[in-house]
Amino acid sequence: MTRERVAKFSSEDWRRNLPNFQEPLLSRNLKLVESLRAIGSKYERTPGELAIAWALKNPAVTGASVGFRNPKQVSGIIGAAELLLQPTEMAEIEDALKHQGIT
């Protein structure tokens, strides 16, 4: 997600009214995206793939349903299926979450 994409949400887009897509949470969330981008760059993985792979590490999670609108977006998430995060990466992600006040 980017600030530009959020600005382009159509008037009927349900996300417009969600706190996570409005300030102050929007800036916080976008910082987290950049942290995920930095951690994922080692594997050439997108922030989205990192986020999904992190969710899949939870032993309570069997599978994650992921939305996409076109084939290009599929290529931005598909790597999550085979991305097994190591303890160091999990710790880096947890640190990034804590740093943004999300635990």
Partner: protein
Amino acid sequence: MEYRVCCLRLIRKYREPILGAASNRFHTHKRSLQASSQGTWTGKSQMETRQLGNSDLHITRLGIGAWAIGGSGWNGSVGAQNESDSIPAIHTALDLGLNWIDTAALYGLGHSEEVVSEALPGRGPRSYVFTKCERVWDASGTMGACLKAASIRKECEDSLRRLQADVIDLYQIHWPEPDHDLEEGWTELTRLKQEGKVR
């Protein structure tokens, strides 16, 4: 974002034998389920699968979320969407080995289910299709919550029609509201399972 409460477990106690050629999607579907339950999923890619709860479903770790492809025109839309994007997107994901699609009657007020139905034929082993009930809408598109037995039964029939399927692989309560009708809703889901409309 959504609070998925219910996973009606899709255990089929008795499988009917597959008779003849796969003349429709339902037969194709049953065949693919049998294959996958024996650990021989025959998708183009071999992705890791996990057993969903105590069901006989073995799902890939990623699934296709069909909220956005419901498109615009309802309260909950995430913007306009073109089917000429949605269907190639679903095909790309299936070809990469994802084996389940999670839709809902609510998404596009039935439209997402119709797009899913349109995308599935001719894609090799059919994927599991999961959908949801309880979020209802009236003629003006105003949404409500209903767990009454008759309402859930009608929703199930409507979803089966839109999906052009005889059975729903996983039928979920979209949100557990209203609380005082939860037991009635669950009871009806159990009946639908006994009748074979839901696995």
